[in-house]
């Protein structure tokens, strides 16, 4: 079987190290864990991998209350209880009350699928441990129906984490690991090019300069990230702001236009306003 390779898509720029890590995971059919600053495209990666390899994508978004079991299946005891009290015929087959979770759906897929387990660190601390066997052997047991569910094709499992909790060693050992670091200017230019192909060179350069300058402001609580830059550029284009206006701002004369897309925190906005003000005052008139 020739192994398909992921090389990034026309809407997603993958760096060399990211491509290698993903390809290793695809080739060995092992899960890959992706970490990185918020907004660097962790979740997007799974979508793009599925798209570029032409495979179906199953998404499982984790919340703080999610249990590992819910990804496999759930036994709807309440429905069965209700049916039993109403005297419904369905009640005799317990299989009617087993609800399949995302992992089961992925295991049951006709073609080799991509399974995204998004923000695994949001869940309880034991959550990853409860999935060890499922990730390793790609099978699990349904106790209610005494049925063993095995993956038809081992899915490509992409797991994202925001580093809110430490993940257990046993879990980490079973995964490949990649940390998406914040893109440098060259990569960032490529990313923006991919999203806004017709963008005027001048505007792009000025907006990137303003953006990196803003990221360098000391003391910001939440630094603007790639996804915020893309939103901002979208707004700039929609408002048709000339590049010269940005240059004025990059030199610290005023707030950049539409800064709400970049700074999401009131304190950050205040801090930035203060810096701009100080800078203007210290400038010779």
């Amino acid at each position: 079987m020739s192994v398909q390779k992921f090389t990034g898509t026309n809407s997603y720029i993958a760096t060399d190290d990211l491509t290698m890590a993903v390809n290793a995971a695809v080739t060995l059919q092992r899960p890959i864990l992706i970490k990185g600053e918020p907004g660097t495209g962790k979740t997007q990666l799974a979508i793009e991998v599925a798209k570029s390899l032409g495979r179906p994508l199953h998404e499982w978004h984790i919340k703080s209350t999610t249990k590992a079991q819910q990804g496999l299946y759930e036994y709807d005891a309440v429905a069965r209880l209700r049916d039993s009290q109403l005297g419904d015929e369905r009640v005799h087959d317990i299989g009617n009350y087993i609800l399949r979770g995302n992992v089961w759906e992925a295991f049951d897929s006709e073609e080799p699928p991509v399974l995204l387990i998004d923000e695994i660190d949001k869940a309880d601390i034991e959550f990853p441990n409860d999935l060890l066997r499922e990730l390793d052997r790609m099978e699990f047991f349904v106790y209610e129906t005494k049925q063993l569910v095995k993956a038809r094709h081992r899915p490509i499992i992409i797991i994202t984490s925001n580093n809110e909790k430490e993940l257990p060693d046993a879990f980490l050992r079973r995964c490949f690991f990649h940390y998406i670091k914040f893109p440098d200017k060259v990569t960032m230019q490529k990313i923006v090019d991919v999203h806004f192909p017709g963008l005027k060179k001048a505007l792009l350069k000025e907006s990137l300069d303003a953006f990196y300058k803003l990221r360098d402001v000391p003391g910001l609580k939440k630094k603007p990230s790639t996804s915020e830059l893309l939103d901002w550029i979208k707004l700039l284009l929609a408002e048709d702001i000339p590049p010269e206006a940005l240059r004025e701002n990059a030199s610290g004369k005023a707030m950049p236009p539409l800064y709400g897309a970049l700074l999401k925190n009131e304190q950050d906005v205040h801090l930035f306003e203060k810096l701009v003000f100080l800078d203007r005052r210290s400038r010779p008139q």
Binding site: D17, M20, K35, S84, K165, L172, R173, F177, Y179, K181
Partner: protein, 391 residues
């Protein structure tokens, strides 16, 4: 060869497991590395290291192992004067010219040749194709072009062809022995999170309801539970004044950034050591003070107490009544801190002074003894250790 590397990593403080090594070998066997060193480096990192704070350590071990002559290179870096390498001219070659440049064979030969050449050369050099300097086509130096070049003292890769990505050490600021940055401390403080159910019961407890209903012979018996909240309460006492000022700014900023992680976060200031009162607003420190006794009454024993201070002062300030530099204190600082420690069994002291200097300052030693050895350096590791102690 990889076994050797594996043990190198373990000796260096990383803890890859055998399964991870086998995974790496498996990947190499599958041939996706295309015999490229860069790809091998990426794959090794993805399969052996699972924590971005250890990427930097990995980079260093990788470099040492696959270079074999790391020490020699260290010497080179220090031996080559800066101004040799300061960029003066840019060399732009056409593609044909680039193709003409022959690679010099294996890496070992390259390094060997570099060492020899360094011995021969003793003045600044620019351009040309043999000597070490800038903008040339020799394999050594900066801002030049040679497909197998060794870069010395150049910022970043211009042709994106330099052999060693790991040399850039891009993950250095994620290393956890470095001092705290906002991002780092947030991650560390998150370990303090502990969820507990408290307050009004407003969520349906499905499992309990089913259980109770089953026991109730099938008649519905609804059960409710309170929502889960983070139940951690933190009382933070910060030393202000003198050498502590810049540290305090960092701490404050970061603790308040992380305050959403806690149910309650209260902070108070002191100067050098704890006495009979503390204050909350530094500009009104002489008017608005809260007495330490009131403080211990106001905040219950379930608070975790964190002191942040360099504990660097005269020993009198700790052990004698009237030792304070600011005012006349009736009772010694040691008595007051003991009272606080009695109230708050879960307490630590974070010290921004480097740990190796602690033993040379008597007051740090004394404070440490008073704290029952629960003093930790203000680094990400120290914070993590301390927070483990608070649980």
């Amino acid at each position: 060869m990889l076994t050797q590397f594996f043990f190198h990593l373990r000796d260096g403080g990383l803890k890859p497991s055998i399964t991870e090594l086998l995974t790496l070998l498996d990947v190499m066997k599958s041939g996706i590395a295309d015999n490229s060193v860069d790809n091998f480096y990426y794959l090794a990192r993805a399969s052996l290291v699972k924590d971005e704070t250890q990427f930097d350590l990995f980079d260093r071990i990788f470099a040492a192992h696959f270079r074999g002559i790391d020490d020699a290179l260290n010497d080179l870096v220090t031996d080559v004067p800066e101004d040799w390498l300061r960029r003066q001219a840019e060399l732009m070659l056409s593609d044909e010219e680039r193709a003409q440049i022959e690679a010099m064979g294996g890496f070992e030969e390259l390094m060997e040749a570099l060492r020899e050449r360094l011995e021969e050369q003793d003045e600044r050099h620019e351009g040309g194709s043999k000597w070490i300097g800038t903008a040339g086509t020799s394999p050594f130096g900066a801002y030049g072009y040679n497909p197998e070049g060794v870069r010395i003292g150049q910022q970043g890769s211009r042709h994106r062809r330099a052999t060693k990505v790991w040399d850039k050490r891009e993950y250095r600021n994620l290393d956890n022995s470095v001092e705290l940055g906002t991002r780092n401390i947030k991650v560390a403080l998150r370990q303090l999170r502990k969820f507990a159910r408290e307050g009004a019961a407003d969520l349906l407890d499905l499992d309990d309801t089913i259980d109770k209903t089953a026991r109730n012979a099938g008649f519905l018996d609804i059960r409710m539970v309170p929502e889960r909240h983070n139940a951690i309460k933190v009382l933070l006492c910060l030393d202000v004044g003198g050498s502590m000022d810049d540290h305090v700014r960092i701490c404050e900023e970061m603790f308040s950034a992380a305050s959403s992680e806690f149910k309650h976060l209260e902070y108070y200031y002191f100067h050098n050591f704890i006495y009979e009162s503390l204050w909350k607003d530094n500009s009104r420190r002489h008017n608005e003070r809260i007495s330490t006794t009131d403080l211990t009454h106001k905040y219950g024993a379930d608070y975790k107490l964190i002191f942040v201070g360099d504990a660097t002062m005269s020993p009198y300030e700790i052990v004698y009544p009237g030792g304070s530099v600011e005012h006349w204190n009736e009772e010694a600082g040691a008595v007051w801190i003991q009272r606080m420690l009695n109230t708050y069994p879960k307490s630590i002291w974070l010290n921004p002074e480097p740990q190796n200097r602690w033993d040379y300052t008597p007051s740090i030693k004394m404070t440490r003894e008073l704290m029952g050895d629960r003093m930790y350096p203000l680094t990400i590791n120290g914070l993590a250790d301390g927070i483990r102690k608070l649980h």
